[in-house]
């Protein structure tokens, strides 16, 4: 196993969520993809599964897309930083992200910023799974979905739509599990059940090159 800490969080001591985007002049998702592939080669692993929950699921989707043949197991992930609402309602997390990393987008007053506009449009596909997967990808995705989580109504349809549009629908599987009416990580049993499916799938696939 390999665990990554989000380097973006070093940019501010109060930062809680930064989706492993890196900062203005430093993308980190390609670097993490490279480290994961090198680590797999070093330890003799022929297959890679990227996994995470929520913001970690976003990162798993983003990095897996850069590693052909890899499998992504994402639990109730967000698929776009623009539009992300904490607790399904608040733009607070987007606001903090902009304030710390891209204050110029707020014109000096993040509280006056209109978050309905796609402020991340010019920042590349590292900010959006939907944009990254708009180009056909060679990885495989299991979306672990708690239908009681609000991401079920927003992010699952968005990912399905974009992967279908690129002819990649067969690369997406949905693993549904019953969780609380909330946005929380899976419990150990839920994690293990979903991971068993990811392991079974990746055994059917050719090794990562």
């Amino acid at each position: 196993m390999m665990f990554f800490s989000d380097p973006t969080l070093w940019t501010d001591p109060t930062f809680q969520l930064a989706w492993y985007t890196g900062w203005k002049d430093q993308e980190v998702q390609p670097l993490i993809a490279d480290w994961a592939v090198r680590a797999a080669h070093a330890v003799g692993a022929s297959r890679i599964i990227f996994t995470g929950s929520s913001g970690g699921g976003f990162a798993a989707l983003q990095v897996s897309a850069l590693v052909p043949g890899s499998v992504c197991l994402a639990f109730n992930p967000s698929t776009s930083i623009h539009g992300y609402l904490s607790d399904g309602t608040s733009t607070g997390t987007q606001r903090t992200y902009v304030k710390v990393l891209y204050p110029e987008l707020a014109g000096g007053n993040v509280w006056a910023m209109d978050f309905t506009d796609d402020w991340a449009a010019g920042l590349g596909d590292r900010m959006s799974v939907r944009k990254r997967y708009a180009t056909p990808r060679e990885n495989y995705v299991i979306y672990a979905d708690n239908p009681n989580d609000w991401h079920h109504d927003i992010d699952l349809p968005a990912l399905k739509e974009v992967m279908t549009a690129t002819g990649s629908a067969e690369r997406l599987r949905v693993h549904s599990y019953e969780g609380p009416k909330s946005h929380v990580p899976p419990n150990p049993r839920q994690f293990k059940e979903a991971m068993a499916k990811a392991l079974a799938w990746c055994r059917e696939l050719p090794p990562v090159s």
Partner: protein
């Protein structure tokens, strides 16, 4: 007179996987005593967190072992990764925070060359501005590498990996 006990922010933030254990423990206290004090709540919360984390650590996955040829393969540390200590430590010796694994400084992020031996090692690349890419690699000789990412972190409860190797 003693201060009235109050709940702090740490007491009020729960991970989803901690909740089930906590509810069971509170039910047990109520069954026994018919009331729940703040001290009871804090004690049970502490125990629930410990139990939940123990259970998380007990999640075992049926990972296929790598082929013997790959298993015996070792990749030496190249110039891109300079070990502060050397090699790895056995997985069973890893502390819960992972900080006792040998730390390898990766000077050139594009030349990451992790050690191939079984066990656990930490890797760090430092960007300008004292920002770090930190990774912990647990090599149990399996055919599948599982790479994990965390979600939102409560910075009052969780700290980023520090540079100490022990």
């Amino acid at each position: 007179m003693a201060d009235k006990p109050v709940l702090n922010q740490y007491d009020r933030s729960l991970e989803g996987f901690e909740l089930e254990e906590l509810v069971q423990r509170i039910a047990s206290v109520l069954d026994k005593h018919g009331a729940l004090t703040v001290a009871d709540y804090r004690r049970e919360l502490h125990e629930a967190r410990n139990d939940s984390r123990r259970r998380l650590g007990e999640v075992t996955l049926d990972l296929p072992k790598a082929s013997p040829a790959l298993n015996s393969r070792t990749v030496p540390v190249k110039s891109g990764s300079t070990p502060v200590n050397s090699g790895t430590i056995p997985a069973q010796d890893l502390a819960p925070n992972g900080l006792n694994a040998p730390l390898h400084q990766v000077a050139d992020a594009d030349s990451f060359a992790p050690v191939g031996e079984l066990g656990v090692a930490r890797y760090r690349h430092t960007f300008t501005g004292d920002r770090h890419l930190d990774a912990l690699l647990v090599n149990k000789g399996t055919e599948v590498l599982i790479v994990t990412f965390h979600g939102a972190l409560d910075r009052k409860r969780y700290t980023l990996p520090n540079s100490a190797s022990r």
